[in-house]
Subunit: 339 residues, 3 copies
């Protein structure tokens, strides 16, 4: 199995099934800390540099909270115009310098492959928080963790899973990475529902088919939502070639209670990488689903903290030491009471 | 009395006299920590998400320092364009997600009622740091705390206080909230000095009068400054209907040493929510007052940390545990020496 | 010797040789903590307010990491438009308020003398992180620390050092401050290589000459690089009076492996305040030098953390207590292994 200690986390292609199993296992161990039943200070004194050269609230706060939840300090850089990168400094130089002030780095950058480029100059582990259209590996891992934990009460596992991916599959890096991870399992069925012009790229489909999985393509939801998990994504109007095309598909890929009742199974779980667009012209995931127990989107977002805590623990080699650094939580927490 | 533990702090209207008394009492208990005589780590490991969607330095830093002063970690989000709110995400969704990464949230947002809206989706206590023209409850509480502590040496209390509110009373949310809190006490006299067009709204005056207090309206300072406390506020030129009106009132509401000597009592205390505008065309609170002991504006700002520490302790249910989590301060502090 | 405890650090002119010796000595003591052999929590519970009204990544993160490395919390303000300064608040008022929320402040501001102005109102030590064209004292100190530590293996000290300063010496505040510090030593030789229009200001040259040191001025690199240390700086095209002049000097002040081999000594060390401009039209320090052991630029940047840790310890009076507050480092660190 790959060595996590001291390693960068840049791409889902780094992981085999064993490595993912390790990550998901450690992630589950983080739940009591995130739910405030107890707390862990194994990384007390450690420093994360959270470099978010591209704006994000959820992912940035999630990485920062994950590190604080292990007791560590967080230094943040938000936005590119504030950095020296504007003055012609290479990513390599920035990495050499900033890694000197860090124990680990999490980084998001608008350009593809920028994070790998940066990692070459870093003396500490770098975790890719998203590099443009390329990858967002921690999202893929938390998505996989979510599928696994949502299916557990139904006695199902990742092997044999029946997935539906929906929305803008052409541009969605989350569904690209998730598909690649799913291909590592057995007997997976993936139905891909998208406007024809926004269907999944061939290479992603090939990864699944080459691994022996069944892939179904469609531009209709009818008959395609009776699955274990629906992974919905946003379609941005600007992605359509023309306003006419946008108009043609308007509302055809929206999920709401009525669609769910008509086409889904009792146990069908709904996921979404968030944010969902609640404006009327988009509304891919209607608020009327908010009281549906199978709407997993917020448990999914919460799982992001568990996975990021796990990756910090693994890259810093402390995953076996968690229980040695525990303390009680002395403040009021509704989370702890909800368990 | 209201239950603080697990509660949101959204509006001054939540508090009766007993609740305020509790808040002010716990705030006073925080002084030794803020003045570095000793330190408290009761919230060691806890996470505050400081969401400042509208710029602020003082309030934001004050909330963050208050949480650090109890030993907790702070994650910050500054400015709205950096958040997912720009992509059509509802406040409810943002709250569901971010509260999963928090033990408590402090939030400022430019739109009225946005913080209450957000709080509906939050699984942790939300403290309103200011929601547009609506409310800024922690400012009102620190203002009340300041009046109480400034009056103590003179043997006066909030009951029977003789207040003067000055400046732009129409738009100033601080004086609106302060008036509502003052109405809970006994035998209060409030003189409101403002340009006619910027006088206090009727509903605020009514709150005081309905509670039996005396309210005097004026657009002149002469004869109206012989009180216990003057609460001065800034008048922004743009608030006047016309430049002529601005010109008419220019300088009429400025306080300086000469005005103080001429119209105030020996013990009259001056307060101001800050920032004060030191540019010549504004200058509502002249720098020549800086050496006046009764200029309370900086003690007032400092009290903000005490009140915010108290609210964090109360909403997280640790106000009875402070002394169990004390440590000494081993570094140099002029604050500790000033006591 | 000057008293550090409770003092501001505003200008290199505050320091005599003895004070600098103290700073460099404490800086060296910080190395085991920065290199993660062990950690120090002497400032556990203390609060640094990192006020960066002018963008910077390296200096800001360096100050923040330095404070975390001593166990303290960091509150940050980045950019001026977010502050109350836009609303006419004086630096004095901002200092009175923010220092109430701090144990120490580090500040960068685009205007000359702004930090000293601010410091007048602060109740806690203020460390100047750069005030416009005026000073950047911590950079000068880390530069001096670097020269000293780079020369140690060669049996050389700051006394008798043979320095070359290159680039835009007219506008470079780093070389101004460094020159002033060097003048405190004995028998220093400084060669200043710059385009004529960008040569070192007379007052800086005078400081060195009045202290008895030799100063050579040139606009050519030939024959001027056989020294102990070359301190290279960036020349910004906009600094030239005309594009013709820029064109005249293009590439004449660039350092690369070939120039090094031709003109430098075996032990000549190269320094640069960073960032270096890697774009072709600038490229004052070519990447082909990256594998040269004598390229000290990244050790130099790392030394910034040591010097800032030392200044925090000194101004907060804990420099004698470091060893009483040590803990082990339980996570993986390539830095510790590299020692």
């Amino acid at each position: 199995m790959m060595t996590f200690e001291g390693s960068h986390i840049l791409s889902v292609s780094q992981f085999d099934r064993e490595a993912i199993s390790k990550i998901l296992s450690i992630s589950a161990q983080m739940a009591p800390y995130a739910m405030r039943q107890k707390r862990c200070h194994v990384l007390d004194g450690a420093i994360l540099n959270n470099l978010f050269f591209e704006p994000s609230t959820r992912t940035r706060v999630s990485f920062g909270a994950a590190f604080n939840l292990l007791g560590g300090f967080v230094r943040e850089t938000v936005g590119e115009e504030n950095s020296s990168l504007a003055k012609g400094e290479s990513l390599f130089d920035t990495a050499r310098v900033i890694s000197g002030y860090s124990d680990v780095i999490a980084m998001r950058h608008p350009q593809m492959h920028s994070v790998s480029e940066f990692a070459k100059g870093s003396s500490v582990p770098v975790i890719n928080g998203g590099d443009g259209a390329n990858e967002h590996p921690t999202q893929a891992l938390l998505d996989l963790f979510t599928i696994q934990s949502e299916m557990k009460p139904h006695g199902k596992t990742l092997d044999g899973i029946n997935m539906t991916l929906m929305g803008d599959l052409k541009h969605g890096r989350t569904v690209h990475s998730l598909s690649k991870l799913l291909s590592l399992y057995q007997n997976v069925k993936v139905t891909m529902i998208a406007p024809n012009a926004l269907q999944m790229p061939d290479n992603v489909i090939a990864t699944l088919e080459d691994a022996g999985h069944q892939v179904i393509l469609s531009d209709k939801i009818e008959g395609n939502l009776a699955c274990d998990v629906i992974y919905q994504t946003r379609i941005q109007q600007e992605r359509f070639a023309s306003p006419d095309e946008a108009e043609l598909y308007r509302g055809h890929f929206s999920l709401n209670k009525e669609v769910y009742r008509q086409y889904c199974k009792n146990h069908t779980v709904i996921m979404h990488p968030l944010p969902r667009d609640s404006r009327p012209e988009a509304n891919e995931l209607d608020n009327d689903l908010n009281d549906l127990e199978n709407l997993a989107i917020f448990r999914q977002a919460q799982n992001g903290v568990l996975v990021r805590m796990a990756l910090f623990a693994l890259t810093l080699g402390v995953e076996e030491k968690l229980s040695q650094y525990e303390k009680s939580v002395c403040w009021y927490s509704a989370k702890a009471l909800s368990l």
